[in-house]
């Protein structure tokens, strides 16, 4: 019952976000209709970082408690994070083409999302190269945490040291948000909607993982 409420509430919320993004919000100068990418690209990028964080969290839990469930949860979070990372990279690339003329520029923010993609891919490559389950879990967890430690360099330090083409409405030196109020409402709603969508997908993955473990223990 609660699941149904969550499911339909999410459907309604995201539908309203999409409608607002296309019909209600004004357009930014120079970008025209492509402004709308903002409402989908930034939340996708935020969710992939969130997924990465959750993956690292469950990796730490696995190393401390050694319960295989935590390893499966870390893997699930990373799988979802990979999907959102691909979405964020592709939408960001489209926006880059429209704003700055080329699909890929190795701008520091572009580089950081690409590195996140590589870290996810490397994590899955590592896991598939190990057969023994406990070892796969432990080494995957260590790599996930180790990679997590180097990511702040990309997200925070490199854009400060090097000039970036990325617009900075949210992370700028005055910490002010310079957006029209209707854009702000839609943007924050989209952010919230994407986060809840990710958590809903993750919750379903948790149910699936627990069922699989139960089934395996019954055999």
């Amino acid at each position: 019952m609660l699941n149904r409420i969550w499911q339909f509430g999410l459907l309604l919320w995201l539908s309203m976000v999409i409608i607002a993004a296309f019909l209600w919000t004004p357009l930014a100068e120079g970008l025209g209709e492509y402004t709308r990418i903002l409402y989908f690209h930034v939340p996708a990028a935020w969710v992939t970082v969130l997924a990465f964080l959750i993956g690292a969290f469950y990796s730490v839990l696995y190393l401390v408690k050694r319960n295989i469930l935590y390893d499966h949860l870390a893997e699930s979070a990373s799988q979802l994070g990979l999907i959102y990372c691909i979405l964020a990279t592709v939408t960001g690339s489209i926006w880059a083409k429209v704003s700055w003329g080329s699909f890929w520029n190795w701008d520091p923010r572009e580089t950081s999302i690409f590195i996140l993609l590589l870290i996810y891919a490397a994590y899955f490559a590592l896991r598939s190269a190990i057969e023994h389950e406990d070892r796969k879990a432990a080494l995957g967890a260590v790599y996930s945490i180790f990679a997590f430690v180097t990511v702040p360099f990309f997200v925070f330090i490199v854009p400060r040291v090097y000039a970036t083409l990325h617009p900075d409405p949210l992370i700028n030196t005055q910490a002010k948000i310079n957006m029209d109020s209707s854009m702000l409402i839609t943007f924050l709603s989209s952010l919230f909607g994407f986060t809840v969508l990710f958590l809903w997908m993750f919750k379903n993955k948790i149910i699936l993982v627990k069922l699989k473990l139960k089934l395996r223990n019954l055999r």
Binding site: A129, I130, A138, L139, V142, F146, V149, T150, F153, I157
Partner: protein, 222 residues
């Protein structure tokens, strides 16, 4: 102090073992030379700009590191000496000893390859001390990240390809800062000009070595 003593002994053991076979040293040096020759030959008489040459130098260093820095752990697994080593010292001491070995190996590689690169590629820089600071800090960062990743992949299959794939995202800040610092060294002589890059390299080394020491126990005792 037992820790540092253990680390030093393990470092000496690896050096002695290396001198018997010279496998790692040969592999890494020859790889660097082959890459350098390939690059120089491909560019030919065309005068590539100093930006491109800075990038090429770090690409050569990075890929040579990828070919040579994993032997330290892979050899332990292949020769089945890893179990004995576990009995001999604490994991942190083992990591520090192996990290020191990789650092010395990388520095040896750079002592030979970098002057060759400068000569063959006709690469001139004004800020020599700045460049050397960037190179040393970059080497520390590269060795730290590579040693930890080598420990992780030594327990997996498909070790060679996996090593480069796992290392690249982690070592990228070093490559970015290294290339940028080298570009600055071409024009400027004062160390303060590249303070951003040097600070980033130093911070990265500290963070990675600390994280590696904290996590190495879990990898080593698998």
């Amino acid at each position: 102090m037992q820790l540092l003593h253990d680390a030093w002994l393990i470092f000496l053991k690896d050096v002695r073992q290396e001198f018997k076979t010279r496998y790692s040293v040969n592999a890494i040096l020859l790889f660097a030379l082959v890459t350098l020759v390939a690059v120089s030959f491909s560019i030919g008489t065309f005068n590539a700009g100093s930006d491109i040459k800075s990038a090429l130098l770090w690409i050569i260093i990075f890929f040579s590191a990828m070919s040579g820095l994993s032997h330290i752990f892979v050899r332990e697994e292949d020769k089945h000496t890893a179990d004995t080593l576990k009995l001999v010292a604490q994991p942190t001491g083992i990591f520090l000893g192996k990290f020191l070995f990789n650092l010395v190996l990388l520095c040896l590689l750079e002592i030979i390859t970098v002057p060759l690169f400068f000569a063959v590629m006709d690469f001139e820089i004004k800020g020599v001390s700045l460049f050397i600071s960037v190179l040393i800090l970059g080497s520390v960062g590269l060795s730290a990240g590579a040693t930890m990743t080598a420990a992780i992949i030594s327990k997996a299959s498909a070790k060679g390809a996996l090593f480069a794939v796992l290392s690249f995202p982690i070592l990228l800040p070093v490559i970015i800062a290294g290339i940028s610092g080298t570009k600055i060294a071409v024009q400027q002589t004062a160390i303060s000009e590249a303070s951003g890059e040097l600070q980033m390299l130093f911070a990265y080394s500290v963070v990675v070595i600390t994280a590696a020491i904290l996590l190495f126990d879990f990898v080593w005792n698998e």
